[in-house]
Symmetry: D3
Subunit: 280 residues, 6 copies
Amino acid sequence: MEFYQITEVVRRALREDLSLGDVTTTGLIPRDLRGCGTIIANEEGLLAGIDVACEVFRQIDPVLTFQPHLSDGTHLTPKRLIATVKGRLCSILSSERVALNFLQHLSGIATLTAQYVAAVADTKACILDTRKTIPGLRHLAKYAVAVGGGKNHRICLGDGVLIKENHIIACNKLGMELPEIIKQMKRKAPHTLRVEIEVRTVTEAGKAAAAGADIILLDNMSLEEMEEAVTVVAERALLEASGGITRENIRAVAETGVDLISIGALTHSAKALDISLDVN
Amino acid sequence: MEFYQITEVVRRALREDLSLGDVTTTGLIPRDLRGCGTIIANEEGLLAGIDVACEVFRQIDPVLTFQPHLSDGTHLTPKRLIATVKGRLCSILSSERVALNFLQHLSGIATLTAQYVAAVADTKACILDTRKTIPGLRHLAKYAVAVGGGKNHRICLGDGVLIKENHIIACNKLGMELPEIIKQMKRKAPHTLRVEIEVRTVTEAGKAAAAGADIILLDNMSLEEMEEAVTVVAERALLEASGGITRENIRAVAETGVDLISIGALTHSAKALDISLDVN
Amino acid sequence: MEFYQITEVVRRALREDLSLGDVTTTGLIPRDLRGCGTIIANEEGLLAGIDVACEVFRQIDPVLTFQPHLSDGTHLTPKRLIATVKGRLCSILSSERVALNFLQHLSGIATLTAQYVAAVADTKACILDTRKTIPGLRHLAKYAVAVGGGKNHRICLGDGVLIKENHIIACNKLGMELPEIIKQMKRKAPHTLRVEIEVRTVTEAGKAAAAGADIILLDNMSLEEMEEAVTVVAERALLEASGGITRENIRAVAETGVDLISIGALTHSAKALDISLDVN
Amino acid sequence: MEFYQITEVVRRALREDLSLGDVTTTGLIPRDLRGCGTIIANEEGLLAGIDVACEVFRQIDPVLTFQPHLSDGTHLTPKRLIATVKGRLCSILSSERVALNFLQHLSGIATLTAQYVAAVADTKACILDTRKTIPGLRHLAKYAVAVGGGKNHRICLGDGVLIKENHIIACNKLGMELPEIIKQMKRKAPHTLRVEIEVRTVTEAGKAAAAGADIILLDNMSLEEMEEAVTVVAERALLEASGGITRENIRAVAETGVDLISIGALTHSAKALDISLDVN
Amino acid sequence: MEFYQITEVVRRALREDLSLGDVTTTGLIPRDLRGCGTIIANEEGLLAGIDVACEVFRQIDPVLTFQPHLSDGTHLTPKRLIATVKGRLCSILSSERVALNFLQHLSGIATLTAQYVAAVADTKACILDTRKTIPGLRHLAKYAVAVGGGKNHRICLGDGVLIKENHIIACNKLGMELPEIIKQMKRKAPHTLRVEIEVRTVTEAGKAAAAGADIILLDNMSLEEMEEAVTVVAERALLEASGGITRENIRAVAETGVDLISIGALTHSAKALDISLDVN
Amino acid sequence: MEFYQITEVVRRALREDLSLGDVTTTGLIPRDLRGCGTIIANEEGLLAGIDVACEVFRQIDPVLTFQPHLSDGTHLTPKRLIATVKGRLCSILSSERVALNFLQHLSGIATLTAQYVAAVADTKACILDTRKTIPGLRHLAKYAVAVGGGKNHRICLGDGVLIKENHIIACNKLGMELPEIIKQMKRKAPHTLRVEIEVRTVTEAGKAAAAGADIILLDNMSLEEMEEAVTVVAERALLEASGGITRENIRAVAETGVDLISIGALTHSAKALDISLDVN
């Protein structure tokens, strides 16, 4: 998470909340009243987004002093002190909600990711995110996945090749079959990118491997099919399991021998982690 | 949802996904190959965001024809056809993920809201959202809450006065007590805004009503306390229940006689609704 | 006036003036020549915008030192020293006009407001601005009104409900009359907002109060009508006088007993206050 | 006024007014109710900004039909119909204020300019604006001056050379006197630009002309001094009168024989022209 | 080249040229004078950027009709007609320079690329661009390379892994040697990306291949060294020649058997192609 | 080159290169590893853009210390040390390419300009750039021309009047001939701007001078024609030679006695200067 990736997203969030000013704080709190706010966890989870929270306070009031006590990736427990911010109370009060919104959402993603990562411990499988992110927050969301121990799948449509079912249907219309599709893609893709393809059956997985696919996405397969695919592909390509993954079945999926397991829910359905700010 | 509120948020989402182009589609699909995509629900819920999806396709390729078959607020069931988009297949394929990301997230919020709204049917309580939104999507998220039958709390720090616990603590430092705080706020606030205050006890609720608060937020009270507050305040102010609301207890909360129930989870923890696009 | 509300408006103003550079200064003044500029009032009035002027100099050259000698709201008299700026002369010369444009316009608004405020001294009436602002400067203009002792009416179409004549005409087409209009609005409006309605006659004012309007705008009424409206409404709603207010008649308007007097001229027709910068 | 110069300034103005939506209109007016608005002059003056008003309606709702009945520069009288806009009433109501704010401000500038222009009729003097514009609206303001029959002075610090008193003071510190200053500027300035210099006395005007100044600004001179300067300079340079110009003395100033008269008030102190929109 | 990648870069270019308007055209050409402009090649080369030119005219005046007669990639010869644009002459004249600036620069890149591509005809080597692009135009520049028959190397630092000399020096400080560096990178990189490393000697090339590098960049090697590297690596990795490539030696480089030849000059030093617009 | 002109262009360039992060550096270099980079010239030329390079490093990582050892305009020779940057190695590595892209391009322009300037030494001719710049970099490119000793022609269509062949053709359609065109332009142009016109023959040059043109552009004339034009015009206007200028013939062009020689190639076809960054 480099700071130049945070500036703009924070500015946008502040504009949403403060474009008309903060009438409550302005009406009650004298500008020179100073104080302190403490950011505290209210439930168990993994911290993510501390630099983003810092940037929120900095943009509102550059002379606030923000002191993080924990760094991203730290395990949180109820009442644990995350950070302290000192300075003009009016600035702290006006920043609170936006700072917490970032922290709660990103920590929620990190926490969910860590649960899946723990579930596959001691297997060779890596947990991957997807492009199913909440619009406008992709970089931050993928960062939070990494904090949770997951690995990032491609960030956008340009840093990875993934031939999906819909591409294959379109190519079929042109009379192209799987091997030919893969070969054309390998010829056309930038040489820096591997070629991944989505398949529905073990037979297709075998054909894809034979045609030179670097990575094969096994879409919504049963555990048996996945195991079979692992055998058939025999390390000629990386195997990514996708679709229908739950915290209940993920261990079994990992034990089929697949290399990667991608989960849309990490970024599209993570619950916010409960974190609050207390003025004192 | 006016179109001028959608343009920018869609542009931002497309920039996230397409700033390097779409290498897979470019490598496989000829630019003049035409086709059709159908957007289909995969689970039960409430549709929200159809205009946003439309704008995604329009920004990618203005000559695509997007035909919505359902409007926002429609009840979805698995396999129900939501919309059809026709034109260059490459454009449809490059737009798919971003369009679905909006639809899935907003429909998820609308669906969750509708569940809470249903739970309080035939009581006088309204379901409210909060400012606990995912940064960058506040307007869309609040729109989705409205689609789900909820009512919007203030959009930002400028269109509503809400004196929270932290404000009160800060004012206490200055020697101001509840009645005085409310009076100063009424004097200072724009005359177009009502004054709302957060209280922790029934006694405070009574004092707040006496001091002229227009709305009183009952923070994390038990059902008994809420009932008592309703009696004590006796319609001198609107009462908003907040904190610890679940789908399990919300009916009972509504039956205490409060006017409003606000729920952060509507916008910070809604699960994405499963919606997909099939090329054919 | 928080600094995050100033940055962008200043950047825009500088882009207008300096996008091609400053050919005169560049051609004459060596970059390392240092000096001092003093900002001085040339006529009587009220100062507003000192932080904006400071930001202008800061954006042009962050190492200039800007020393304000007066703060916003100070009474100015000819020759009074407002601020001093020291550093590279070329930077001071290139900043001069934009800094003065802000100071002169905002001080002009504050000065005009203060004259109206003085005219109603010792009555209960507050002076209000309107949304009749010069496009692009609304936040600064409303800030200047506050500096001049005025109160801000709603900032935009979202932080206040005001049912105007045109809304009523449109509703009449639908068969809705005044009481029904007010009732629907109270039901639909966010609970944080009061409901204000514009009326043309005393009879309408009475109906509006009876229907529960929180604020009633008396449009272009005679002094006699206003007095009558005050009697009829009898504190059931706030009363706002609007239309045809001049410095000549405002005292009489205030003495009718209205609560608020709104004046478009404060922000759309204020004369610039004469302020200049002298290099030495 | 090209349309690509209007788009951004209109977007900004709409963002100021509509970023939270229009709660009143949304609460009262059904989206499919259609109607008509007429834009009407309420006082005498000169129309300016009709294309800007058109763009406001277009950005709010591209399917509104906006029909201008008059073009910029037309003389307005009370009750004169300026334009008609038809379509969804909710869109018309939400656009009204911003469209009028542009029309009123720009027509105000054009009207004031036309008064000065009329005052110098049949003399050779042209009326000029200055860089004393309200920040963010310079291009529109200068356009309105041209509509009023004025001529535009430089738009920014890059399309004209004007050596002002402050530049001269700075150069004096370096031991440079008037002739040397002018010569250096002529050498350094882009060859496409004339060189203008501000002088305080007739003697300086003579020196400036001798040193090759293309234009000489006579700052705050008496009528006698201006006449003398006209004689002394003897058409070797254009003469611009500036400072202390009022509608009372401008005719006399023009009759001294100066070529140009520049007036800051055109753009910094014009009163808004009274224009309104009636729904029907 | 999708249109959503062009809009912003064109807007920026127009802002550079037209932010103060076009004084010459405005002063001479009546707005309703209509006419036609023809865009014509003045020298031999390859056309690139026709859609960008089209967008320039569209942004200036949406009712101009732009008719391309040739498409990107067409071989140009002197006097060949590229496109015709019809409508208001003032719009055509104001657009001319910006449209031509894009066409000339992009066609220059395509032309230079095509010369290198021709030079390696019938070898297996592909011509690649680099990240040595002129700031702000990377996407367009890489598009022009593709038009010229070249292949695009990574677009940014996120869609390809390339361990350069400077990375290796930094890693050496940490005690990491080549094989370890490659292994760590393969572990850390997104699974969608291949790993490329820059080497200086044949020995290093061999080690890199052994350690699993997917692509090896041979930096500034002699023809003999490249040949040797081809033999040593023996198709375990792709080989990219880089550094010191000229039109004179490129054929010999290609004949060493390398897979890829990257040339910074394609995008940082291409001469503009001579193209002009004639009004008639 | 003021810093407020650099910020945005640098931000844009960084967004091009770093919007997905730097996967190589992130994968290999620990964030706390510190080091140093030296920027070094690899060929002879003129340095330009050192402040832009500085801003690149600053935006990536504000705590890097960038130490320039040479200033813009310094003559570079192979191995000459230009600047040193110290701090986090990961930041230096991620900034390298963008910083060099600016330095190489701008130094290339300055170097080419200096060659032309040297070629006309001891004549009265100045070397001018044109508006034939690479889109998005006009201000920087024109700055680099100035560093190389050239003079800037107008920056955009608003800070100079230049009646080109295409304007004359359009005016001819309206029945206007050269003298009338010039006279209308002088009347309409801002008084701060000179009027320049492009001519094709000596006769036209004579007519233009007689009609009061301030500057006459001699388009593609032979040396003999230029000499003749110098005689005919006899200092009544500045003469600018343009078209077909090469390093071979420029001396002869200058010796014809023209005042200005404008060369598009300075900004549209300059080769990048070879500059690199070494980590150590």
